[in-house]
């Protein structure tokens, strides 16, 4: 074959791809079920999403949701914590429980031949956890040590301090999922039990199943196992109290650092808002992948960092825009200058080439979001959490394709607000203050990490 290495090879004809179908049903107790059959491997994955996360943690009990998820699989039904773990492993099943600010997630991956016994264990954790006092105390001590441990991890400090200042202490999203030490000390076993009763209810949950099983037999099994789950409760919806801010720089002093962790961003619209597709394109061009403006500038041109990225993050009830990186201390001010300048520039608009690159990347990558059982259940979960329309996945490619230059640039102008940038720097405050000019990036305040949650 003749070869001309100077030209990119042509793309062959379009690929064929079908989005997995999802069946939706509901049990009498209100538990919604989302099922997608997938038969290429003998695997079944099942996720229970519960509307329970740190956002719902009551005043003075910050950390309660997370503590509940740590305790919930420490014994259930007639098995104690260790027996329960043994049983899952005997079945070769991967079982986990986790919690973020909006959702608690109980998940299971198992070979289809072991599905029924593993599902029985899974159900037991959800519907009849012990929440025993001794287990509770052990898990509580674990969290407190963990809090002690993370407060020296620069990236963790940067992430949670940034969200603290961005959302402000009146907003429930300003608290870390792990909670706050003095609150955790206050939590009693009864608080955990009450909280479980309130939140782990069928009406407050969705069950997602992806795998190698027929719909009919799955429905029967789920009916048998979950129809008797009867917890009911009324739920609170915490106030968000969001407010926009003026530029500010908060230096969290960490004198032993050899680098500065940087976060800079501002509040933005929610995931379910209609500017989502435009924002995806903007972000891809600004800092959402390797050949983004930010990475080419700060890494590939200046060598300030190992990597830099930007994102629009979406919680259930709020969203924000942020740039995140880590740089050598001496380069902090120079790096910030470049970051601010790129943010300002993207507000002025994207080029037609950039937009066509982003559209191509997003639409052509779409089929690879459905390769694994986890990816498919994750896509379904995402639609549930953010109340996306039933045809969201079917129309995704078309929606991206229909966005034009004008749309994107209008949204860029509207959704990027350099005057509102809250910047967190975690590093040696003395060396940082030497470089950062007064008011250059906003009013500058220095504080110690221990003071972040006492302000």
């Amino acid at each position: 074959m003749q070869i001309d290495r100077t030209k990119r090879p042509l793309t062959e004809s379009e690929i064929k791809f079908n989005i997995p179908a999802v069946e939706i049903s509901e049990l009498n107790n209100g538990l919604k079920i989302f099922f997608s059959e997938k038969n290429d491997l003998p695997i079944i994955r099942i996720n229970l999403l519960v509307n329970s996360g740190s956002r719902f943690d009551p005043e003075k009990y910050k950390g309660l949701s997370n503590l509940l998820t740590m305790c919930i699989d420490e014994g259930a039904g007639n098995l104690n914590a260790l027996q329960l773990a043994d049983e899952f492993e005997m079945l070769g099943a991967q079982f986990s429980v986790a919690s973020d600010c909006d959702i608690s997630l109980v998940s299971l991956q198992v070979l289809s031949e072991n599905f029924i016994p593993a599902l029985k264990l899974f159900k037991s954790v959800i519907t009849e956890p012990h929440l025993d006092k001794n287990d509770y105390q052990r898990e509580k001590r674990k969290v407190i040590v963990r809090l002690n441990q993370v407060k020296i991890e620069p990236d963790y400090i940067a992430d949670i301090s940034f969200e603290r200042f961005l959302f402000g202490k009146e907003c429930p999203y300003s608290y870390p999922v792990l909670g706050v030490e003095k609150d955790i000390e206050n939590i009693l076993p009864q608080n955990v039990r009450d909280y479980y009763q309130q939140r782990f209810t069928p009406k407050n949950s969705s069950l997602i199943v992806v795998g190698n099983i027929e719909s009919k037999s799955l429905n029967k099994i789920l009916q048998d196992e979950f129809a008797g789950w009867g917890n009911v409760s009324t739920l609170n919806q915490p106030q968000l109290n969001l407010r926009n801010l003026q530029r500010k720089v908060l230096i969290v002093n960490k004198p032993d650092s050899v680098q500065t962790e940087i976060r800079s961003g501002h509040l933005s619209s929610k995931r379910s808002d209609s500017d989502f597709f435009q924002k995806q394109i903007i972000n891809l061009v600004l800092g959402g992948q390797f050949s983004s403006r930010l990475n080419l500038n700060l890494r590939e041109k200046h060598g300030y960092t190992y990597g830099i990225n930007s994102s629009f993050s979406y919680f259930k009830e709020a969203g924000y825009f942020a740039v995140s990186t880590s740089v050598g201390i001496d380069n902090t001010a120079s790096a910030l200058k470049e970051i601010f300048s790129e943010i300002k520039k993207i507000k002025e608009g994207l080029t037609a080439d950039e937009i066509s690159f982003a559209k191509s990347s997003l639409t052509r990558r779409f089929p690879s979001n459905f390769e694994t059982y986890r990816q498919i259940s994750g896509n379904i979960s995402n639609s549930i959490i953010h109340n996306l329309s039933d045809n969201y996945l079917e129309t995704y490619v078309q929606k991206i394709n229909s966005v034009n230059l004008e749309d994107v640039n209008k949204i860029a102008a509207d959704s990027i607000n350099p005057e509102e940038l809250i910047t967190v720097l975690v590093g040696d405050s003395k060396k940082l203050l030497e470089q950062i000019r007064e008011q250059e990036f906003g009013e500058t305040i220095v504080l110690e990490f221990d003071d972040v949650f006492s302000n």
Partner: protein
């Protein structure tokens, strides 16, 4: 199990490039995965980290591909890509929609054949700076981030190729010259020193023609002689105390253990699982559930071509001493060497491992990388069943003997503790 039988075609081009093809049509994707048989073990003293630098330099463009465009082309096509380096090898991989198979072939062949044509000082200086930042961010500025470096440099003798960390030492990274890069490339980035796996939705005959088209004319620079490395052993226990920016004290133990895929390698994996693989694993139960003196504990078998080591790592809860934890760890090790584990414990481990083999088949790029791994260490890409059998065929007695053979020998002990100036 049939699922683990992965049929493939393997052949070599005239220039020595080895090719492995696996045709599977269940996803509209294709994975390209190349292993260059060069890792940090091939580096010279004073120039450590050079193999890892290539993980960066290879994305700086080549004769027909401008800097940064490798990423851009793949991402524009909806693909994903990355690379990684360890002691033994460097891999590069892309996953693209199956109608774009030719794209990674074009990009990968251009840098294999024509990387040096576009190499310059500006690119090198830039990536040295990026790698120095990587080192600061991921190692120097991370709590416990220097543990691996401390361990390997004490466990493996000065002359052993596993004595230094893959990222390289700070001053070594600073010292690289264009000539270092050029000669390293000529030595190791030769078609005959690499293997390509292409897995996914492909037409085998067409793929063969395309590979010949893109890689056929690349000059063979030959292969390098095997590294000569004596099997490492420790003449005595080594105790190291290291002060770092940490809040909690942590203790590490490392013993020399079998090399990758050699006899007993898989049994060491099972031992790690028995000790810390689950809540009810022996050390986890004891240290975390019963005594509550540790915040976490992990055991793992690391194994490569020229050596292996078994590690146990535990973090003390505040107010508890590392020595107390050490005593428990050694009690449990003695028990493992004296008495067979229960049939139930072994069955549990085997079930977890066997299921994980099936779970790992979900990603076409994981399969491609595993085929390259098996080909590299075993000379047989379709070793999934063989690999699983290493685990399922062991028994309680064998596990006890293996513990005896490796865990009663000398070890390196590393304690990482808060700086004394910060101590309460």
């Amino acid at each position: 199990m049939n699922l683990l039988n992965i049929p493939y075609i393997r052949y070599s081009l005239q220039n020595g490039l080895e090719v492995i093809l696996y045709d599977i049509k269940n996803v509209p994707l294709v994975a390209f995965n190349i292993w260059f048989k060069v890792g940090s073990a091939n580096e010279a003293r004073g120039k450590t980290g050079l193999a890892h630098l290539f993980e960066h330099m290879m994305f700086q463009g080549s004769k027909n591909i401008p800097k940064e465009m490798h990423f851009k082309y793949i991402q524009e096509a909806g693909g994903t890509l990355n690379a990684s380096t360890n002691f033994d090898r460097t891999n590069f991989f892309e996953k693209v929609p199956s109608n774009e198979l030719e794209l990674p072939l074009w990009l990968e062949s251009d840098r294999m054949g024509f990387f040096l044509d576009s190499l310059d000082q500006v690119k090198l200086d830039n990536q040295k700076s990026v790698v120095l930042n990587e080192r600061l961010e991921r190692y120097d500025n991370q709590p416990y981030g220097l543990a691996w470096e401390k361990l390997v440099s004490n466990l493996y003798p000065y002359k052993h190729p596993y004595n230094w960390p893959t990222i390289g030492f700070y001053n070594d990274i600073k010292s690289y010259t264009i000539e270092d890069v050029r000669s390293f490339f000529q030595k190791y980035y030769s078609p005959a020193n690499s293997t390509i796996v292409i897995a996914g939705n492909i037409d085998v005959n067409k793929t063969k023609l395309l590979i010949e088209k893109y890689f056929g004319d690349i000059r063979n620079n030959g292969t390098q002689p095997e590294i000569l490395a004596d099997d490492p052993h420790l003449a005595e226990n080594k105790m190291i105390l290291f002060e770092d920016n940490v809040n909690l004290e942590r203790i590490y133990f490392a013993w020399h253990s079998p090399k990758a895929f050699s006899e007993d390698d898989s049994t060491m994996d099972i031992l790690a699982d028995i000790l810390t693989g689950s809540k009810n694993a022996r050390l986890t139960r004891k240290l975390i559930y019963e005594l509550e003196i540790a915040q976490d504990v992990n055991a793992m078998q690391f194994s490569g071509k020229y050596g292996g080591h078994f590690m146990i790592v535990a973090t003390a809860k505040p107010g508890n001493s590392l020595d107390e934890i050490k005593n428990i760890i050694f009690d449990e090790i003695s028990l493992l060497t004296e008495k067979n584990i229960s049939t139930q414990e072994l069955e549990k481990s085997k079930n977890v491992i066997a299921s994980n083999f099936i779970y790992s088949l979900q990603n076409i790029d994981t399969i491609a990388d595993l085929m390259n791994l098996y080909n590299f260490y075993l000379g047989e890409p379709n070793s999934f069943n063989y690999d699983l059998k290493r685990y399922t065929s062991t028994n309680e007695e064998n596990i006890r003997q293996t513990a005896q053979k490796y865990l009663l020998k000398n070890f390196v002990e590393l304690k990482i503790v808060p700086r004394s100036s910060n101590a309460n």
